[in-house]
């Protein structure tokens, strides 16, 4: 099955600015993770999977959306690997699908609603990649 997520290991590394090779497998990220029980893959596994290029597995896992972005793993990491940034990069890769539905300026007037926060509209533009 061809992947709909045309995202490579290099792209994840570029988006996140993380070098997974810096990880020394100490596990402090996983030890501190508050979402551990809800995750299929845990922070240190994220890093190892990106390193091995297993992006497909990651983007298909619900784990990426179980991460609460509390940044505890990033805060405790002794090697500045920053697993939370990797997870955010994978999330971005998922939501910024190529040729997926996204807002065009023409669509805006119909959507403008006084109750809708402006940020929601702005972020809708984000979910797009060329």
């Amino acid at each position: 099955m061809a992947s709909v997520y045309q995202v490579t290991k290099e792209e994840i590394e570029a988006i996140s600015g993380v070098n997974p090779l810096k990880c020394m497998r100490c596990g402090r990220c996983t030890a501190t993770c508050p979402s551990f029980d809800n995750m299929e893959y845990h922070p240190h596994q994220f890093v190892a999977m990106v390193e091995r290029g297993e992006i497909e597995k990651l983007v298909r896992s619900a784990s990426v959306f179980k991460c609460m972005s509390c940044m505890a793993c990033l805060e405790r990491c002794p090697r500045q690997v920053q697993p939370a940034k990797l997870i955010e990069a994978v999330r971005l890769a998922v939501i910024r699908k190529q040729e997926a539905n996204h807002l065009r300026p023409d669509d805006l007037p119909a959507l403008v609603d006084e109750d809708l926060p402006q940020q929601a509209i702005v972020s809708a533009y984000r979910k797009f990649t060329k």
């Binding site: 810096k22 020394m24 497998r25 100490c26 596990g27 402090r28 996983t30 030890a31 501190t32 993770c33 551990f36 029980d37 845990h42 240190h44 505890a72 990033l74 805060e75 405790r76 990491c77 002794p78 090697r79 500045q80």
Partner: protein
Amino acid sequence: MQKIGVFVCWCGTNIASTVDVKAVAEAAKSVPGVVFSTDYQYMCSEAGQNLIKDSVLTYGLTHVVVCSCSPRMHEATFRKAVASIGMNPYMLEVANIREQCSWVHKDKEVGTEKAIALMKAAVAKAMLNTPLTAGSTPVTKRALVIGGGIAGMQTALDIADAGFQVDIVETKPTIGGKMAQLDKTFPTLDCSSCIVTPKMVEVGQHPNITIYAYSEVTEVKGFVGQFTVTIKRKARYVDESKCTGCGACIEKCPMKKVPDEWNMNLNNRKAIYIPFAQAVPKIATIDPAYCLKLNTGKCGVCSKVCGTNAINYEAKDEYLEVGYGAIVAATGYEMIDVSKYDEYAYSNSPDVVTALEYERLMSAAGPTGGHLVRPSDGKEPKTIVFIQCVGSRETEDSCHGGKPYCSKVCCMYTAKHAILTKDHYPDTDIYVFYIDVRTPGKLFDEFYRRAVEQYNVHYIKGAVGKVTPNAETGKLDVQAADLLLMEQLQIEADMVVLAAALEPHRSARPLATMLTAPMDTNDFFTEAHAKLRPVESATAGIYLSGFCQGPKDIPETVSQAGAAAAKVIGLLSKNELVGNPCVAHSDEWMCNGCSQCENVCPYGAITYEEKEFRMPDRTTKIRRVASVNPAVCQGCGACTVTCPSGAMDLRGFTNQEIMAEVDALCL
């Protein structure tokens, strides 16, 4: 008129297989200045050296160029050979056609071409070589050891046993260092005090050793063989010559609430104190920060009870100036401040302790008399969690910015703590969270395996994420990860022990500045050569002993201490030192007094002086000019490239000589 001889070595096949040595010798014949050239199989052999010597005498050679291996290999050999027939050894030049030519080329044609170019460059330099004579300086036959821990004590003992005078400067009131604070030593479980206190006594009683305890080095002047050191003797407020160490003053001192640094501040001591019973020298010291008499003027109890009238509240710091031939840095280590690792709750709970604090809690001479109890409520802990690598193996840009290196001893002392704890209290549950267990060393891995197999210590590959003091249960909630079983663990612990990173003592950096001894970014002293000169600093006359050079355990420290002593003995047994004549010198007429050379000199060899000059118009002018101390200069050349006016030059490697070499290669 220069008459140069060129000698091309085959080095067996090392050079001859990729360089046509005959062609090189032939090419030399057409180089101006060369009157003789030849080739030989092994120029460094006795026959080869004789060939050089005979040719010098036969052809009246003034300069010799040997095309062979690196000058680091045989320059000294050839220099000695020509010196033996009366030629100045600095008239000899080596062209490296092995390491920098034959070994790196495959094509013989290319190799030969390059060897000829290197030969021509060497001849060009040799043309300008002038005779150099090394100066000599006398050696003060006394050594200074800075630091009175096991490293400093062992170095001092070994030097003193060889018959030289040694002074130990120690900042604490007693020698003994960290080793005296340890409970047991791994992997044999020898009692640390029982092996270190006899050493302290030996140092204290040695006729050749003087201990300056409670003192600091404040200034170092001079150079190898001729150091002058200022030692600050901090005021003890107790006369060292009168105090007998009876302890009556300590008993009566009313100021009881002084944190006892000897016990890692786990209990209190008096304002007048002797760190511990076996202290050497066993002399009381008044802590000026806490003494009532010194701070409020009221009290004076200690002086009233002192039978020998040793107390002197008027005492002032004293300064001594002593000359030394060699200096040994043995400043040791301390534990990093773990309070920034707030996830481990060190600042929030007294039951989270560092490994050194745990050491005192286990020690029979410690605050609890060796009875392991929780500092918070005095109860015996049933579950203890040990966390490894706290502050070690971290990158500088990480949030806590710990130490990038492995502290080396933590894996072993944690296994020791676990075994000792289980030995005394078998029903204790012990968890050790590790990244890697590093046990290279004699009987080290066996010791760690004993902790696992015989004592059932739970070693878990993983880490602790956070420690939360639980007010209800009075325990510590530890959240951790087991990476092998892929589980997150919640442990209710009574105590948490942090294997905190060890760092060079804070006094090392300012000392290195005084000694002009190089250090690395972690504040470890840098050795002169990582493999071959591990106990010497690059600064001549400065030697390194113990942890100040890099993490090491007690036996390694003792070995290194002995090695440093051997180097010091080698130096002190000389009456005078022959210097390296290839040192910098300044042309005083060209020097503009800008100080740039002084600033870049890594050895502190350059000073400026105001000098009178007789000017062309017959007036006298005082100018500020650089002056190089040839005994300190190591000939690195940093000053010559820095000097904007071209006044600084390096003998044996003058700017002119280097340019001649470059010209020979490029023109």
